[in-house]
């Protein structure tokens, strides 16, 4: 009886673990099952490298290059904001600030990471976009720049909290050795501590990248939605995620357009999957002690 209970418990936990794996397989099957048939009708190079997204036109064309470029542009723009702000904050908190500020800053950052993206989207749409339009005298404030700023601020907590962890994990004797050799604090930070925490910082940036490229609501509400390759930071763009969210509602179930949106999802999944592997590699085994 006792052995039976033991076995049963083990089997239940085993089943839960298998369910977790099955969820991922289910997602892969669900996305690929609906997206792959698309590539039977539209070739992969045409999908990836031509620039003409007219999915509902009489002569349909499914060139997603502008959407990919839109996603990359917004994400890189967000990183251009998030890396200096997030990394700068992390270094300040970990290396310069008093332990009192550190104790407040850490939970606050964690809290900020939980702010729902749709709230940022609302803020971007109703507040920042009109301002951006005025400041730069633009035709429209819904553009690459505004989306990047909002998205960038959104991923600051990710970049900064993980970088801070990496910096804090650098052994103290490295700092002490550097200071003892007569280096200033700034020199110690940038020549000794940051290089020692390099892989963790890169990992945090990669995670930020993955989060930004997969974010939907902010870009759906703020990026403007023109399917073209942006020529300036004030052009409107149409990232992959907002294309899926905006067009899914209007497709005819299981037609080519429907499948094309799942093909975009495969692409997005592949990008985040690779990003994830890279960031795991950067963090190394340290995280799972």
């Amino acid at each position: 009886m006792k052995i039976l209970k033991e076995k049963l418990f083990q089997v239940i936990t085993y089943a839960a673990a298998l369910f977790t794996i099955a969820s991922l397989l289910g997602i892969i099957a669900g996305i690929f099952g609906r997206g792959l048939p698309f590539f039977g009708k539209v070739s992969l190079p045409e999908f990836l490298f031509t620039n003409s997204w007219y999915p509902t036109h009489a002569e349909q064309s499914f060139g997603a290059w502008a959407l990919i470029a839109g996603s990359l542009a917004v994400t890189l723009g967000a990183l251009a904001i998030a890396i200096p702000l997030g990394l700068g904050s992390a270094i300040f908190i970990a290396e310069i600030a008093s332990s009192r500020l550190r104790e407040i800053a850490k939970p606050v950052i964690e809290l900020l990471a939980g702010i729902p993206s749709v709230v940022y989207g609302l803020f971007g749409m109703a507040f920042l976009a009109p301002l951006v339009r005025q400041w730069f005298d633009l035709d429209s404030g819904l553009n690459l720049f505004t989306a990047s700023v909002i998205l960038g601020v959104m991923i600051v907590p990710i970049v900064s909290s993980l970088s801070e962890d990496a910096l804090s994990a650098v052994p103290h004797n490295i700092r002490e050795a550097s200071l003892a050799l007569g280096a200033t604090r700034a020199e110690t930070i940038f020549k000794a501590v940051v290089p020692a925490a390099k892989s963790g910082i890169i990992g945090s940036v990669l995670l930020g990248f993955g989060r930004a490229i997969g974010e939907t609501m902010v870009v759906l509400m703020v990026s403007g939605g023109a399917a073209r390759i942006p020529g300036s930071i004030f052009d409107s763009v149409r990232p992959l995620t907002s294309t899926i969210a905006a067009e899914m509602g209007e497709t005819v179930m299981c037609d080519l357009h429907f499948q094309s949106l799942f093909a975009l999802a495969i692409l997005l999944f592949a990008i985040t999957f690779v990003t994830n592997l890279l960031s795991e590699a950067a963090f190394g085994k340290r995280r799972h002690g």
Binding site: I31, G88, F92, A126, V153
Partner: protein, 284 residues
Amino acid sequence: MKPRQTLNLAATLLLGSLLLVTALFLLLFLIRMFSLGGSVLSWEFLTTGPRNAMTQGGILPALVGTLLLTALAMLVALPLGVLTAVWLTNYGRPAWLVRLLRIAINTLAGTPSIIFGLFGMALFVNFLGWEVSLLSGGMTLAILALPVIVNNTEEAIRTVPPEFRDASLALGATTRQTITRVILPTALPNILTGAIISVGRVAGETAPIMFTATTFFAKGLPSGLRDDVMALPYHIYALMTEGTHPAAQVPIAYGTALVLLLMVLVISSVAIFVRYSIRRKRQW
């Protein structure tokens, strides 16, 4: 020496100002949300449904919808996640399966939420025929929350000192008894606070429920799991994009956003506070 000192000072100032800019931007964001949202917030706003073509009234159905979706998601994800973490930390054999599970958890954690939405639509709404419903949305959110809970629980279990486990086993307890009577109770506060933080995240998700659970307008509360529901995050999006009376509806969107924000911030800050004080108090 001089230029090096100047450089040192400049670097410190630069780093400090980067933190300041971040803090100021977030402060501006929070002030804006609180001042605009606060002006429409009232008891009536929380306890009545939308009225007069959604230009007046409150957000009760959306509030209830979000609570139900979140509760359902956690009801499913919490046991599954905890059990998965128990397997991972205590049984974990064969090794290749552990590796596969880790890949699955990390991949799920990094997958964009819109993909969960598509998956939920394909599997729950269409394939299983659950339609756009509380059930479909709750299950989609459960799978979204699963990796976070597994990771949290695993971390919590790993903070339980190995001596506890060894002592329990040495006293003749079985593995199961050790897990359910020693390890899980000891790790419970950390498991729960982790879970509560993920509640905040789940409540604020929009993309996964857009195609699986939400409706633009419903008078009453859902009468069953197969009904569609209003939800706070979707309500914000819908008011901003589908509303016909922006002058009246943008303030309501701000009010809804403030309610959602407060909900998420209060829930998470309680959990974070509890967790930090547990860590400080811990004796082993």
